[in-house]
Amino acid sequence: MLDQTSFVVDGLMVEGPDGARLCASVCDGCGTVYFPRPVSCRNPECSSKALQDRLLEGRGTLYSFTIQRYQPPALFRIDNWAPYALGLVELPEGIRVMGMLSGFDLDTIRIGERVKLVSECLFTDPERGRVMTYKFAPDISGRAPR
């Protein structure tokens, strides 16, 4: 079973040929993009509230960050715990998304850096195999966001 992979929670993300994508929704009525997928559009100006699934590429800029110096309580599972960075990323769709950061030196993270979405293993479980979550990593491709 150890060669199989799963995600930390169903409905959060997918892994396609072009890499990891976030499972989001877009409202046909007002154009608002939501992540994670909501039960309903929350825009009080919108009366249509017709949601459709959409995948997000997850390229954006680092709006803020912090370093978790203490291990979170047990609901959070991670192999080889060590302090790690959490980021708040501004996506071009008008959403700010929190997520773990990957590939950063903890002492030199800077607000405004360009980041991209990646999928990484949090822990390995005998039943679930390699359990993946999304993270944001430095975007050195130089590509402009969508």
Partner: protein, 396 residues
């Protein structure tokens, strides 16, 4: 609407009280408030309790019912309000409306809490799936509550050039304010160096810049003009009070969500800003008229950000205000003159009731060891889970 006055206030000191059940803490606070008012259960026409999910209330948040069944079965309406950390403010608003409407003459408010140790556990019955934000934030990234406040603080460093020393100074001010307050749990003075030497929890927030959890209880007796002659002192009036919920597009990092839509022109922490604006509007005063602000300082960052969000000072001005002593008890705005959440530790549902008690003591000139001289207008502000905001304006 009829005018509403604070007839009496009382509190049980904050701390850890393993030998005292929550209902006992509540009764101690109510007894103190009634004694302060010179009134008893016989005059009380209603009881509003801030509902806890940690203890008591027969598992349904029926804390007011539990209290009257314990101490005085007199047939009065018992109203129990939810609102997490803002429940106390919602209870005050409810009692105020019961009197302002003319339906009742005297209504008591109580919030009492004994907090579990460590991180606040998820409520029983929560679903382990993506629809539960509290589950999602833990399993997907392990985001603790301090991490949310730290993201805000780090952004403030970037936008306004706030320094670690200034952020530490906010925590120092709270301890200085608490030094003479018998209700505060942490009263030992602190230095900036000690704050910065405390363990880093979530950069840039150190341990001494994050509010712990405590046990405590606070109570109020609100009443109509009918009781004014019974209160032998300058009356303190509830000049404004309001509750609010969050606005779509609010840029605040709302616990426990992992993402939010950000729209231009929407206030940061809109649930609290909206409540403050409505409470001030009802009182007919502007933010610049406030002498004392009693606000929820879950972290040192809140102490810098909230006076700006309420329009009391300009965005980015809090650093200067703090560094120049303008937020001290003898400054332009007395910020949490009793020591704030950082010196009390949060006893969730009791906290917003205590804010109104503290403002009352201050406006009466009875805040021994922590008195702000000549204060005439006090404003409270609190935030609770579920995007609940609450605010009360008291005037002497």
């Amino acid at each position: 609407m009829k005018p509403v006055y604070v007839l009496g206030v009382g509190a049980h000191p904050w701390g850890k009280w393993p030998q005292k059940p929550q209902v006992t803490l509540a009764l101690d606070a109510l007894r103190a408030a009634f004694a302060d008012a010179g009134l008893g259960w016989q005059q009380v026409e209603g009881l509003v309790a801030a509902s806890s999910r940690f203890e008591g209330g027969m598992g349904w948040g029926l804390h007011a019912n539990e209290i009257v069944q314990t101490v005085s079965e007199q047939g009065i309406p018992c109203i129990n309000v939810g609102g997490a950390c803002a429940a106390g403010a919602i209870a005050v608003q409810t009692a105020w409306a019961m009197i302002a409407s003319g339906q009742h003459e005297a209504v008591a408010v109580v919030g009492a809490e004994r907090m579990p140790k460590g991180f606040i556990p998820r409520p029983p019955g929560s679903q382990d799936d993506i629809g539960d934000s509290d589950y999602l934030r833990w399993v997907a990234m392990g985001a603790t509550n301090p991490a949310y406040w730290a993201l805000e603080a780090q952004r403030r460093f970037h936008e306004f050039g706030t320094t670690p020393e200034t952020l530490a100074l906010a925590a120092v001010l709270m301890r200085n304010n608490a030094a003479g307050n018998p209700y505060a749990r942490y009263r030992e003075p602190l230095t900036v160096a000690e704050v910065l030497a405390s363990p880093m929890v979530s950069d840039p927030l150190h341990l001494l810049q994050i509010c712990p959890v405590s046990d405590g209880a606070a109570a109020l007796l609100l009443g109509s003009e009918r009781f004014l002659d019974r209160v032998a002192r300058d009356p303190v009036q509830v000049a404004g009070c309001a509750v609010g919920s969050g606005q779509f597009g609010d840029p605040a990092r709302r616990i426990p969500t992992i993402a939010n839509n950000v729209l231009p022109g929407v206030a940061h922490t809109s649930e609290v800003v909206g409540a403050v604006q409505r409470a001030l509007g009802m009182a007919g005063i502007g933010p610049g008229d406030v002498d004392i602000l009693e606000m929820a300082d879950n972290s040192a960052w809140h102490l810098l950000a909230w006076p700006e969000l309420f329009g009391i000072v300009e965005p980015g001005q809090s650093d200067w205000m703090l560094a120049h002593g303008r937020y001290a008890r003898d400054g332009d705005l007395a910020l949490n003159p009793g020591g704030g959440f950082l010196s009390f530790g949060e006893a969730t549902t009791a906290q917003a009731v205590l804010q109104v008690c503290e403002l009352t003591w201050q406006l009466r000139g009875e805040a021994e060891g922590r008195q702000v001289s000549g204060a005439k207008v006090g404003l409270s502000a609190v935030l609770g889970l579920g995007a609940n905001g609450g605010s009360v304006v008291l005037k002497r």
